[in-house]
Amino acid sequence: MFFGSYLLKEKLITEDQLLRAVSAQHESIPSLIKVIQDNNLAVAKDIVSVIVSSYEKRKDIVNTIREEKEFDVSVLEKAQSIQNEKTKTLGECLVELGFLDLNTLNKHLTDYLSIKSEFTEDNNVNEVEVSSPPEIEENIQIVSGDITQDKNNDKPEAVQSPDSKKDVQLDDISEKNEQDIKRYTNTFNDQLLKRLNKLCDFIVESCQSGGDIANLFSSLYRDVSVLKSSSTLVGSKSSEKLLEHWEFILEDMFNMNNEQLKEWFESYIGLLRGSINYLWEIRETISENKSEKALWLNEQWKERFLDHYNKIGALRKS
């Protein structure tokens, strides 16, 4: 059941309100071409060529890109991912239109997720990917009032991610084999931790001296990519999700000049250092216990981590 149907069933909104919210949601979908252009995913010549070809052959942009192969398929995927990210959720639209208040939305979103979770388990729905550590998504919504977390659930089909994710239980965090853990701990080793901390120090020094932060920041992006890959390998969903936020934030910063980067890092270097500490804590737990489950059983840690995670998430949206 989609979130909109749930809200109708609960008589929280009317059909007319749902239609208007869905319409507003559709209007919020940014043009794929604009996404490609704004994010410098392709050169102007190729973009124009796709537009012309789409017009001449009377085909939509996605199919034109796929068939004409003006861009690499990864450009299309990246653009669709950004498009997806920038599209408002149904919940956001309902709140913006004044049909629901934020507290009501959050309460019912939580109820909806738990019903959906039971539903998917009972019916053994064939959704493949485990989305996040146990209860993370619900907690994120509860802690921050984050109404965009349910994007995969309430988006119109046109922009819905093909790999819709399933809510998971604590038991879903499986132990990984020794070999994967060894590869992960070898990659994320003392040296890399020291390198990350040193990189933060260099960035702070550069901020103070007016140095070339952009060049250091590319090293940071490199390290985040390496860490994200190794977190995926070992199934560390919390690391992966945190790094996914950072990767997105950093990709957005590639268009900033040194002055803008200076301001950014001066404000947020503390959060970056905080994330590094959490990533290391998770790494140590996985190294000892073969999974991050132990951390999620610790309520205090869970609360601290989710608070931090939400701050990074808010940063990503800003």
């Binding site: 020291k194 590319s218 992006y221």
Partner: protein, 121 residues
């Protein structure tokens, strides 16, 4: 430390070489990826490779790919390029580059990056 600078621009080599020499390092030059393979064989004491992206004969990514195939060196490789898009960094990384430096760069940044690559922790 001996550093191999792989760049088709002699001017870039001279500039980087000067930065390195002032910090008591030495620099050797190769004008493309293919020449670099020969220089590596002749200079087993090279400890770092600075590799340009766009070069004739064998460019940076082709050099990295060749090293993935033939494993002729295990020395850390730092890509130096004007390309600053995330996709380029990811590509270089996937081909085995250890670090990425964007041109133009100052000696401060170069030594920060060398510090990050070669430890010294």
């Amino acid at each position: 430390m001996k550093v191999l600078v792989v760049d088709d621009s002699k001017a870039i080599f001279m500039m980087v070489s000067q930065m390195l020499t002032e910090a008591n390092h030495t620099a050797v030059w190769a004008e493309d990826g293919s020449k670099a393979i020969e220089v590596i064989a002749e200079n087993p004491d090279v400890e770092l490779i600075l590799l340009d992206w766009n070069m004739p004969v064998m460019n940076g990514p082709e050099f990295l790919q060749k090293n993935l195939d033939d494993s002729f060196t295990s020395v850390p490789i730092m890509m130096m390029t004007t390309e600053n898009k995330p996709a380029y960094i990811k590509e270089a990384l996937s081909l085995g580059a250890t670090e990425y430096i964007m041109k133009p760069f100052t000696s401060d940044i170069l030594f920060n990056k060398i510090d990050l690559v070669c430890g010294g922790f």
